[in-house]
Structure formats: structure tokens, C-alpha cells
């Protein structure tokens, strides 16, 4: 059953309907095989790009859709419901465009943003390092000043789309002053000295390549530095605030997909002479799953509305990411339970959903870090 949504306008309804149509007709038939074989569906991103769904959050004058978070996040959710790797992919692409769109100069934006928002290109976001995940201020990758720009040296771990992206939004150290010594750069994929290590062998999200990006004397012209020197970490964290809403939406979609599967199965599977959904013990499991999905959706949409009117939403985004991904973990685990032995086999997507949900509690700030963000906000508030 498609989620019941209250949309703000007819065209918002139509945009989400388009996402759902593409998801059911183009994504759903491919997901099981591609995930099994760890195929990165680059063509699916091209399809979404042509449909205009890859650039919804950003201004029209640079080729974006100028849509509020309340709308584009529901598009992410519909995509995530059909294919988590693709949902994560469009969210990461949006994250990678965020620094230039929000901190770039007019000249930088008109030079690079239209191509990044064209739907033909795909972005990646390089913040984490092997020893600096939760604590990015501990990063070591250096950008050293040289004639006309910088030379970047080091390695960025865990890069989603690493080796497949067209541009990389990279945080690197320009001074040894901890969190204040980091700057943000827009690095093209063909920059000399930039290379991808072999992709990680992951538990799930196998269709989404994750690789360490190695920087070996990568020259970046000064014009490609976004924001001031030293502003990088705060840009990165601002980007993550929005990015977390993207992950919350995708996790909600994933949970919705797992719920739909479980309900369909529970209506047709019989035990003790009746459909298992009619056994109260199992019906209540499904009821809890539905409650988890709806509350995840309500939580991310409520944070989105704050963002859309320009109010602070960092705490709410952290809560949304925490609630939606923890709920997705519960819902997908229970989906396996509802399907019984079948749920534990690869013949059904329940086990894959469960593997996909796990990573959502880890990236864009682990859920421990979300609690840290929330509790710090509580401590600060008067």
C-alpha cells in the first residue's frame, strides 16, 4: 500500500507520484539482482536525473527544482522504499552539492552548480577518514598551499560513490588548529593524483560502492575552495544536518517497504487454520511496525518543516535520523520474523532490508553521535 500522505499542493502530489511510478516500474524489478551481484546502477541515477529528481533541493537558476525539504524528502523516501542503495545515493548526491550551493560565491555557483544539478553527474562527499569517523576534527588529510591553489594529500575513507562519482566535495586540513583548520574543496573526478581503492566488501547496501579515495598530490585551484579557509568543518556539519534528514527519509522508505512485504505475506500465509495476520500475537507485531513507520515519517517531516521556514532544525534532524533509522532496524528485523524461515532466506528481500537498515544507524553520524548532538543541544538551550 502506498503511504497515505498529506501533500501541500497538487504538484507536490504529482512529484511524489512520479517518484513512486519510477520506483515501481524501473527500480523494483532490478533491485534484487543488482544488489545480489553488487552492481552499481549508474543508469538508474541517470533516469532519475532526466526526470529532474536528482536536483530538487537546489535553486532553479542553477538548474535545480527549488523544492522544500518537505517535498523532496518524500521523493527520497519513495525511492528508498524501492531501493535503499539508490535512495542513499540521491541523498549523498544532495549532500555533496550542499556546500557549493550554500557557501559558494556567485561565480563559483554559476561555474559548477549547473553541471552538478544537471542530473547527468553524481557527487560524493569526503569527510571521514580511517581514524576519524565520529570525530572528523581529527582528520589528517592535508591541503597545502601552492602556486594558484592547493595540493591535497591523504586518504578519505568510506566514500559513497567513491571511484564512480563525477565530483568530490572534500574536507581537508589547511592548518593544524583542530576543527578550525579544515577547509572545503570541490574536486573533479579526473583530478590528477586522485584514485579510488578497491571498494569495501559490505554486509549490505551492496549496490552502492563505498571506497577509500586516495589523494596523492592532487592539485586543486584556489577557485575550487568553498567558503573561507578554516570554515570547512562547519560547512561539513551544516551539510550533515540536512543530509541526516535525507537518511531519515530513506530509512523510513526502507521500513515502509519491509512493512508492505510483511503485511502481504502475513495475509496469505496460514498457520493453525488461519492467516497469520489474524493471530493477535503476530497482528500486533505488524501493528507496532506500522506505528514505527508512521512515527518515523512524522518525525522527519516535522524537522523538514522547521528547515523549510528557516528555523534551527539541527536537534530535530538528529532526532529524525535517530528515530527513523532505529525504527527501520526494528521494522526490518520484525519483517524477517513475520516471514519466519522464508524471511531468513535470500528468496525474499526481508533479510536484505535488515542488512540495509543496519548501516543507516551508522553513517552520517552514528546514532550515538545523534544522541550527543541532541543532548548537547538540550544542555545549551536555556
Amino acid at each position: 500500500m502506498p503511504a497515505s500522505r498529506l501533500m501541500v499542493s497538487e504538484e507536490a502530489d504529482d512529484i511524489v507520484a512520479l517518484a513512486r511510478e519510477l520506483a515501481t516500474q524501473k527500480l523494483a524489478p532490478r533491485v534484487a539482482d543488482d544488489e545480489k551481484q553488487a552492481i552499481f546502477p549508474r543508469d538508474i541515477f541517470a533516469l532519475l536525473g532526466q526526470a529532474g529528481l536528482m536536483s530538487l533541493p537546489y535553486p532553479e537558476q542553477y538548474g535545480g527544482g527549488a523544492q522544500p525539504a518537505e517535498i523532496y524528502l518524500q521523493v527520497f523516501e519513495e525511492i528508498g522504499a524501492a531501493w535503499a542503495s539508490v535512495g542513499v545515493g540521491i541523498s549523498v548526491h544532495a549532500l555533496s552539492c550542499f556546500p557549493l550551493a550554500n557557501y559558494g560565491s556567485e561565480e563559483q555557483k554559476s561555474r559548477w552548480l549547473p553541471e552538478m544539478l544537471s542530473g547527468d553527474t553524481l557527487g560524493a562527499y569526503c569527510l571521514s577518514e580511517a581514524h576519524a569517523g565520529s570525530d572528523p576534527a581529527a582528520m589528517r588529510t592535508k591541503a597545502t598551499r601552492t602556486e594558484g591553489g592547493y595540493l591535497i594529500n591523504g586518504a578519505k575513507a568510506w566514500t559513497t560513490h567513491g571511484g564512480n562519482a563525477d565530483f568530490y566535495t572534500v574536507m581537508a586540513r589547511t592548518a593544524d588548529t583542530g576543527g578550525r583548520g579544515i577547509s572545503c574543496f570541490l574536486v573533479p573526478a579526473d583530478a590528477e593524483g586522485l584514485s579510488a581503492a578497491s571498494p569495501e566488501q559490505k554486509m549490505g547496501l551492496t549496490g552502492s560502492p563505498t571506497a577509500t579515495m586516495n589523494f596523492d598530490n592532487v592539485f586543486v585551484e584556489e577557485a575550487r575552495r568553498i567558503g573561507a579557509e578554516g570554515q570547512g568543518l562547519s560547512i561539513a556539519l551544516a551539510a550533515l544536518e540536512s543530509g541526516r534528514l535525507g537518511i531519515a527519509a530513506v530509512a523510513t522508505g526502507l521500513a515502509q517497504g519491509a512493512l508492505d512485504l510483511a503485511v502481504t505475506y502475513a495475509k496469505s500465509r496460514e498457520a493453525f487454520g488461519k492467516a497469520i495476520i489474524d493471530h493477535e500475537g503476530l497482528g500486533f507485531v505488524l501493528a507496532d511496525m506500522a506505528a514505527d513507520v508512521e512515527s518515523a515519517r512524522a518525525t522527519y517531516l516535522s524537522a523538514a518543516r522547521l528547515k523549510d521556514v528557516g528555523r534551527p532544525f539541527g536537534k530535530q534532524a538528529a532526532i529524525a535520523k535517530l528515530v527513523a533509522t532505529d525504527n527501520a532496524m526494528k521494522v526490518t528485523t520484525n519483517a524477517v520474523q513475520v516471514l519466519g524461515g522464508a524471511g531468513y532466506t535470500k528468496d525474499f528481500p526481508a533479510e536484505r532490508f535488515m542488512r540495509e537498515a543496519k548501516v543507516m544507524q551508522i553513517f552520517e553520524g552514528t546514532n550515538q553521535i545523534q544522541r550527543l548532538v541532541i543532548s548537547r543541544d538540550l544542555a545549551r538551550a536555556s
Partner: protein, 257 residues
């Protein structure tokens, strides 16, 4: 050239399709409502012609309840120039003759060079509306085309029947219907959705068309409806070395071989 495409809102084939046993009408709440796929293909024919022929206007025309604007907006988002919705309470449960009359009056009112329809709707599956409309408009019809070639003055196409294919050609104005052999329709896109908001959208009633639904003319009425009886269990053949023979016997007995 002005092309009118007949599109219809139908229950999504993904969902369960049900009849309301009280009224005999399709239970529209039972599943999502979508633009009929064959109508989308018809629209694709018109839009792709319009793309390569400047000055072509594509009007999406639909008769149906107040949910129809959603599907007509999709037609506009795909590339139709304007949309016309015939909406009237008196049309509830209308039969083929009334539907054809309404369509032809709406087409005449808009004026046209070519009408394109799907050959068969996924819900009603009567398959006669295009011919009936042509008859009422007094223009030739070329139905069940699996390929189509539109020019300024005529339409040419291949009609596939059980017995073979025939090439047919008709001068314009005309009504044609196309089959599933025609290419898949494009998806709308974000720009199209935003542009659709600004396109002309007209809602007309039966009195606008000068039609009296209560006029004393013969109409078909539904006398009774019943749920489709459950399918009986099929024949199970257990292969104990003679499975092939049993299969062959079954096919022969059922005149399938």
C-alpha cells in the same frame, strides 16, 4: 494540427479491481487510480508527433469523476498542450452510447484534425468507443493500429488482426485507435509537472455540450451484478513415468492441441 487524445482514468492493475455489488460500478476506492496505459501510449504518439511538428496542439480529453484532474495533470506533465475534463453527476454509470456521445460533442466543441485513442481500456474493455465516436463525428476511423504514420493530410498505419496485417490509410479528419504494439509512453518529469500547472485546463458539463443524459433514447442498463465465481481447482498431473502422455491427453480432451 490539433490532435485530441482520449484518455481514461482506470483502477491500477497492480491493485485488486472490484465491482461495487450495490451499484454495479467499478469500486473506485478499491485501488489507486491511474491514467490508462493504452491512453498513455496514444498520448505518446501525439506528443512525439507534436515534438517534430511545430504548431501541433495536443488536447487530452477525459470523461469521468472528480478524481480525473489528477490523471489529466499527468497527461499535461507528459506534454499535452491542454486538457478538457467532462464532469457531470449525470454521467455516473453512463453506458457506451452516452460516453461516445459525450466524447464526440466535446471533440466537436474543441475542433480537431485527428483523434487518437487506445483500442481497449483496461477496465471496461469494450473496445468500441473509437469507432462509435468516429461514427458520431461523421469521419473515417482506422482502428487497432500497431504502427502509425501521421502526415498533414492523412494517417497511415498497420492493423494487426488474428488473420494477418493490413495497411490502412485515411484522410484527415479521422479517428484512430492504437494497440499495445505502439511504444511505451514516456514518464513525465519534474519540469513537465511544474509546466502543467500553467496549461489550460477546462472542465465542462453536459449542458455545456448540449446533452441531456435523461433524454428518452435507448440506453443499456445494468440489471444485476455478481461477484466472479471462485476459480475451480485445476487438473493436477502427477508424473509417474507417463506424465507426457497424460499432458497430451489433457490437451486433446480440451481441444488445445
Amino acid at each position: 494540427m490539433r490532435i485530441i487524445v482520449l484518455v481514461k482514468e482506470v483502477p491500477d492493475t497492480y491493485g485488486d479491481r472490484k465491482l461495487d455489488l450495490e451499484t454495479g460500478l467499478a469500486d473506485r476506492s478499491a485501488s489507486e487510480k491511474v491514467l490508462d496505459e493504452i491512453g498513455e501510449r496514444a498520448l505518446e504518439v501525439a506528443i512525439s508527433y507534436a515534438e517534430s511538428h511545430a504548431g501541433t496542439e495536443v488536447v487530452a480529453l477525459s470523461v469521468g469523476p472528480d478524481s480525473v484532474p489528477t490523471t489529466l495533470r499527468k497527461a499535461l506533465a507528459m506534454g499535452a498542450t491542454s486538457a478538457v475534463h467532462v464532469l457531470d453527476d449525470a454521467l455516473r454509470g453512463s453506458d457506451l452510447t452516452l460516453t461516445a456521445e459525450v466524447l464526440s460533442k466535446a471533440i466537436e466543441r474543441t475542433t480537431f484534425d485527428l483523434v487518437i485513442a487506445g483500442n481497449l481500456s483496461t477496465d471496461g474493455t469494450a473496445g468500441v468507443i473509437p469507432s462509435m465516436v468516429a461514427e458520431l463525428l461523421g469521419v473515417p476511423h482506422a482502428t487497432n493500429l500497431g504502427s502509425i504514420d501521421i502526415s498533414e493530410s492523412e494517417v497511415r498505419g498497420m492493423r494487426t488482426t488474428d488473420d494477418g496485417t493490413m495497411e490502412i490509410v485515411t484522410p484527415l479528419p479521422a479517428v484512430v485507435s492504437i494497440t499495445e504494439r505502439m511504444p511505451d509512453a514516456r514518464f513525465p518529469n519534474f519540469k513537465g509537472i511544474m509546466a502543467a500547472k500553467k496549461k489550460p485546463f477546462e472542465t465542462v458539463s453536459l449542458s455545456d455540450l448540449g446533452i441531456d443524459a435523461e433524454a428518452p433514447v435507448p440506453r443499456s442498463i445494468v440489471v444485476a451484478v455478481a461477484e466472479k465465481s471462485a476459480r475451480a481447482a485445476g487438473v493436477k498431473i502427477i508424473d509417474e513415468g507417463n506424465g507426457g502422455q497424460q499432458l497430451a491427453d489433457f490437451l486433446i480432451a480440451n481441444k488445445l492441441a
